[in-house]
Symmetry: C2
Subunit: 223 residues, 2 copies
């Protein structure tokens, strides 16, 4: 699944786009890159829009041609990282075939990853309850394995739209409760959250408890 950053990279060196369009994409990409760099370097709260535009070498006002807020510029960044982690986690699926097991595996791992990544943590803390932004950044990756569960008939919800919002809110909110825990406690809380999530999407309680608390292999470090 492609991300906005990947698309922008393609666009700036594409030749079936007008120069105007290429410049536009280039500026957008430079802003995103500058924002990511500055936010990784220092405390995110202290990065100002002016800092970003200065580092990206565009006018202060130009920022608002591309993004409404600091929060919004993080969307493609988070999305890109989500895509990488998603691919990495899927790389560990091994012999798993049951959509429910796959769902549990990915949601448990992705939650752990989200708590490790400082950008993601910030985004989490400052999104509180999922905003459109959060949905835009991670919705696609999150939704896929749930869809597979529905398709298989093992899971069922009365309404997919409501379900998506429900899941995202529950996930983010539960995760927020973990930001101050140590890794061990956070892992336990995540598993409980996943257990409740599985119940919510229609898995019987006993199966949910079983699949959400299996021993979980460590991920290999990502290159």
């Amino acid at each position: 699944m492609s991300t906005e950053i990947a698309e922008l990279e393609r666009a700036v060196s594409s030749d079936d786009l007008s120069r105007v369009e290429r410049k536009r994409c280039d500026a957008r990409l430079r802003i995103i890159r500058a924002a990511e760099r500055l936010m990784i370097e220092g405390p995110i709260d202290e990065v100002t829009i002016a800092d970003i535009t200065r580092a990206a070498d565009v006018g202060h006002g130009s920022f608002y041609l591309h993004f409404k807020s600091k929060h919004e510029v993080l969307v493609p960044i988070i999305q890109d990282r989500a895509a990488r982690w998603d691919a990495h986690v899927r790389d560990h699926l091994g012999a798993l075939e049951d959509p429910v097991e796959i769902l549990a595996f990915t949601t448990r791992h992705m939650a752990r990853v989200a708590l490790e990544d400082p950008l993601w943590r910030w985004f989490l803390i400052h999104s509180g309850v999922p905003t459109e932004d959060m949905a835009a950044a991670v919705g696609r990756f999150g939704a896929r394995d749930f869809q597979a569960g529905f398709a298989s008939g093992r899971l069922a919800v009365p309404d997919v739209e409501v379900c998506n919002r429900f899941i995202l809110g529950a996930y983010v909110s539960a995760l927020l409760g973990c930001v101050d825990m140590d890794a061990d406690a956070a892992g336990k809380a995540i598993d409980v959250m996943v257990e409740m999530l599985l119940r919510a999407v229609g898995l019987p309680a006993d199966e949910a408890a079983d699949v959400a608390h299996r021993p979980l292999s460590e991920l290999r470090p990502m290159s």
Copy 2:
């Protein structure tokens, strides 16, 4: 269950508190009252901190002795309204005795109420930031009926802390998805959300579907 506003009202006319303490409570109460009035009168986004302090007749800086943000000053206001509505909804329980039925009844009605109240809606939409505030404002009321369900043995969750966060996030997020719907569609979405909530806290799927979609009587207008 008492709210902060009720406690402040008591404090300002209590005589076993020092004058300093009474003045402090009085100022806090005046700020809350002024904020509530201004926010009901006009578009909430256009109410500034300066407006509030002017109306409350305190110095601009004093606001920050009591609250960190405009969002935070809404907590006691929302809480107070939640208490009133909670009492009103409970007044309609009638012959209901089963904790699960009571839980469904209150969560379904409170969600409908939240979508009607402009202050609540604003709070919901702008809770993009901290859920701590949301938990502070409505956590107590929300949690009670769940507790009753657990106590009865009909419902069970692996961890109450995680459960609380899970529920709050799911509830708020699903509700957020309803703010642009008409009352009818919102009602349907709310019922689906409650159905998933009941599953998450351990009710079998068929029972959850049943109890979350019963015909729901209208509330009498609140005095």
